[in-house]
């Protein structure tokens, strides 16, 4: 332009048309590349947002009295127990000794770790064997048809 200080260039220059095409397609494509993730981002994902605070552990009536069931809570297993009186309790199913998964023993009405015979009572307290600490206890609420387990605040 009028104030340019560039020296005249040697050789043939790409035509104006070609440059405009390159620029136009580049801008168009890059805008698509920016808009596309944004739109995909705005569409909510299928997995509902209850990744680790609370989870539906079971449906009401799924568990018989005096039985237990392992469910996934975040990336760790948890144990839902239905007591003989029909009430629910939930615990972390990760044994505090060597991180094996514990289970509910219907015969002794206690929580048992098969790895080293660790025993917890139905309050999650370590009562026998190697476990050094109690199990983490979760809260259980029955909401309609769902048995919802959540971390204690």
């Amino acid at each position: 332009m009028e104030t340019s200080d560039r020296s005249p260039r040697e050789g043939p220059q790409p035509t104006r048309r070609l440059i405009n095409l390159m620029l136009g397609s580049g801008i168009l494509a890059s805008i698509v590349a920016f808009i596309y993730p944004a739109i995909r981002y705005i569409i909510p994902p299928l997995v509902s947002e209850s990744t680790s605070r609370s989870v539906v552990a079971a449906k009401v009536g799924e568990l018989k009295n005096n039985t237990g069931e392992i469910f996934k809570f975040g990336s760790k297993p948890a144990l839902l127990v239905r007591l003989t009186d029909g009430t629910y309790r939930a615990f972390s199913a990760v044994c505090t000794h060597l991180q094996c998964t514990v289970q509910y023993r219907e015969d002794i009405h206690e929580i048992w770790c098969a790895c080293h015979n660790g025993i917890y009572d139905l309050e999650g307290r370590n009562v026998s064997g190697p476990p050094p600490r109690p199990l983490e206890v979760f809260e259980v609420h029955v909401q309609g048809e769902d048995v919802v387990v959540s971390r204690k605040a």
Partner: protein
Amino acid sequence: MTTVYRRVLSWLDERFGAGSIEEFLRHKTVPVHRHTVWYYFGGMTLFLFIIQVLTGILLLLYYRPTPNDAFESVQYVMTQVRFGWLIRSVHSWSANLMIFTAFVHMFSVYFLKAYRKPRELTWITGMLLLFLVMGFGFSGYLLPWNTLAFFATKVGTEMAGSIPVVGKWLLIYLRGGEEVTGATLTRFFGFHVAVLPGLATLLLAMHLLLVQRLGMSVPPGVEKAIGEGRQPARSMPFFPNFLLRDIMGWYAALGVLGALAAIFPWELGTKADPFAPAPAGIHPEWYFLFMFQTLRYIPAKVIFLEGEFAGLLAFGAAAAVWVAVPFIDYKAGFGRVTRFFTGLGVFALGYMAVMSALALR
């Protein structure tokens, strides 16, 4: 094509005098000399700020500012939401790049004496914007509610508590209570997405308006050389020549951001536990490191002041001097370059670099 453009322009011109804007753009020029490259950093900072606004709005769609949900919602964004990892990583990386370019912009303006009369107000609004940007960084750091951020915020806000008389009040004001809790999180969220953006928009408008009114400053050395006829006064039109170069830079920045986000996703860490002992190696974000390190070196008592307060006082005084530099170095306004202020700038830059390096050691 051209006729459509003309017609649209004339339509707008009839409504609000858009023609004068076009007229202004046509006449706006940018000086060309060996320091022209520094002119790009202001625009780059502005571009990154816009990226921050856009990605910030997107993050708002999923983020929940409560201590129970904050970490989980960010985790959800990172793992479940499509491209959530990209949006969040870009937001974090862009924040850091923005602070970096803002500092580069500030120091280039300082060394090229662009703050001299008549641009004192541009300098002051710019400095205030820099403080705001750091405020954005400080408040945003806590929002994912991870261990590192939790304790960094605890330490950072504790410093405010060391100020006599108002310290206690200030601490409670910042934390929303005696301790860093959910109240702090809500508060910082409010600062980060409402208070600071509002202030920043206002100041940014003033800053940009002043830049447009006053045009770009030519460094005193170059000005003198032109005045003495040793160098021709060259310039290029802002539109489109300079703007196209700007856009080139912005595109490059976008590429860098995308690559950083994909190759080095911003880590989330572990969820903050207020009752857990503080982990080793708590440190604030890199742009606060020089202050953090200085406060470590200050003894518990300086004369009759608390060490921490003395440090804050020194930084406050330094910041005040820095903001007021156009008035202190008023001689620069007459084209006289004082070696002292260039030296001061070199010292400040060196000090920040050395202290940050020591903190990272």
